[in-house]
Symmetry: C2
Subunit: 426 residues, 2 copies
Amino acid sequence: MIASLYQQAEQLDAHDPLRDIKAQFALPDDMIYLDGNSLGPVTHAAKERAHEVVEQQWQTDLIKSWNQHNWIGLPQQVGAKIAPLIGAHPDEVIACDSISVNLYKLLYAALAIQTQRFNEQFEHLSMARRTRIVTQQGNFPTDGYIAQGVVEHYAQTLTLDYVAEDAIVESLGLDVAVLMLTHVNYKTGYMLDIAYITQQAHALGIVVIWDLAHTTGVIPIDCTLWNVDFAVGCGYKYLNGGPGAPAFVYAAARHHEQLKQPLSGWMGHAQPFAFTQEYIAGQGMLAFLCGTPAVISMSILDAALDVFSGVEMQDVRYKSAQLTRFCLLCMEAQGLLAELECISPDDSSVRGSQLAFTHTQAYAICQAMIEKGVVADFRAPNVLRLGFAPLYVSYHDIVRSVAVLTDIMQAQTYLDDVFQVKHAVT
Amino acid sequence: MIASLYQQAEQLDAHDPLRDIKAQFALPDDMIYLDGNSLGPVTHAAKERAHEVVEQQWQTDLIKSWNQHNWIGLPQQVGAKIAPLIGAHPDEVIACDSISVNLYKLLYAALAIQTQRFNEQFEHLSMARRTRIVTQQGNFPTDGYIAQGVVEHYAQTLTLDYVAEDAIVESLGLDVAVLMLTHVNYKTGYMLDIAYITQQAHALGIVVIWDLAHTTGVIPIDCTLWNVDFAVGCGYKYLNGGPGAPAFVYAAARHHEQLKQPLSGWMGHAQPFAFTQEYIAGQGMLAFLCGTPAVISMSILDAALDVFSGVEMQDVRYKSAQLTRFCLLCMEAQGLLAELECISPDDSSVRGSQLAFTHTQAYAICQAMIEKGVVADFRAPNVLRLGFAPLYVSYHDIVRSVAVLTDIMQAQTYLDDVFQVKHAVT
């Protein structure tokens, strides 16, 4: 059985237009890395850049590098490289801070738009104030935590509602100010319909914020065509920018004239080096900058993004869907799906680039896989999560991973004490 | 004249207990670096660590590094290394985000303390609400910008007052909620008295936030003895953590039970990997964390801090004051102080580790110095700023810098067209 799966993989790999890209990554030998949705691996270009920014730019050119190596322009430069991956214009994306901090900015920016609309219309319409922020149940925790911080500050005037992922549109109404959603669920991989939900929300006057953490770099989206208001995304997952790489913010050009966010640090000032007393927000996306950019991390992300140069995101998405399908096919052929229950959608058109399985021993199974060179991921309390990055995961890798998993499940090696010890972080 | 100054320098260097530390820095040959107050140079240890974190931890150990190399504990580990430089306990300091973002957190934390006190006392005392945030005129712009963002959100209930640096205590009253000050003025080097001002503010029930950007690593302070409430500081100036290195936050242990800040991201959660829906702030300084830490930048800062191991901060301060005195002495001997007006305090006990001079051609003079291998700094509109980092600046460096400056001023080489062209950033 497994032999015929290897044969299928060989065929699929032979026809994969992305197969040569893996050579740009510095992956350890004999490791199959199915955790790029948690931390992407380093590319050779990123390594070179890390060396250059530390040993040449910082060491030798020191303070001059702000001009000479355009450190000051990195947030825009990185943003412009991310823009085509999400169907945005280069001047609609900027890299800065973390997703959490950026969501905070966007929630305030979205609320400011609603306040402005309210003030403009108040004398003409009997429109009640919008009092709700809506997000999905099971959203990545930090998204909700950040919204809780915002809501708390608005005391009695705002609430945060968590609604079921399959009932989002029904839950909306004229009382909703902001809809904040994650496109691909971090745990199940369930993928929402950005175009449809955005359209429905807009019909009710709602401003929508999309978290693209598990999307960018693996699933093409079209912020322009789909009329997206605001979005954030992650630099260290499928963009391979390194641990703790800066995140990014997208804001549609139509909102640029009225961008307003409270983290008004000097890098977002119209003239940061004029050192004037009064804050005046910079044009467009500049208004989202706050403190001094993390130059070294941002430089590495900048270089890492070059792996997408010349890559068609449609090819990436095609392979992403194929990889998850093929993985399920292999697991079924090996009889694994009875014991490992797949909680990701069956339909690959609503499935991100990952698969999740529940098992009471999920943590230990994950550890046993890692020990055999297949790096998977565990999410509390009982989820084994496999991420499929089409730029460096092959079909052959899938069969080998399934073969490893089959051995583990059949021999129950996960019951060994060594795999049962939990670490603080996984 | 200059020969005797070189002789004095030789004597001073011979008796300098810090003279051997310069070897730990990878400074370019023939460069005198007087801009460590803008961007500190790289140490050999930091270079090694950059290489290790990228090429070993990230490349080879990948996601496992969160445990294996304690990425998850870096914010505390770095904080604990900074603590002795500011007279704090290791669990009172944490590294994260930028100064701007951290000031935002602290302003809210300080306001939350005032709100709580107000609510507790309201029924017993006829205490009016505190309605003012006070800061100093000429504070570094981002500090004021951030406070402006906070004040704006409180609409009619809070104001931000800029008061003269020599009239801070007189400006305080029972209507002040928060006093936010920078210890050493970024431009003039004027240094405030933390102990005295904090005491006076506390007597009026005011919570005080100190910005230690131009202090930490060069001037020892004692947060514990001086009863400091909150502080922030910079990782990339005198701590040599690299461009855009994470900043740090200090909060006195007595405030830990009631820490509250609105950027409630998952890394500040009591159990970030439990993935629960409700935000519950972590213990103590953990509550200041927000998004995923910038691991690469933070690792480099961690290694850079080792240069302070075994260094007595009193020695650093002694040399810092000596360097500024000696520089002024040399400049006076060379007849430079008539043309270059020193706007730093005469008294070194209220002077940070820097000197500032005004001149209509300050920008071009700075460029001409850089061209001759002496890296100084320009601050708009007319300030030439020299920073003195005692760990790698020698007395000999001072004389040579003054000799270079003398040549430039006498020959008026700064009038050359090449030095007159301004860059966007300096």
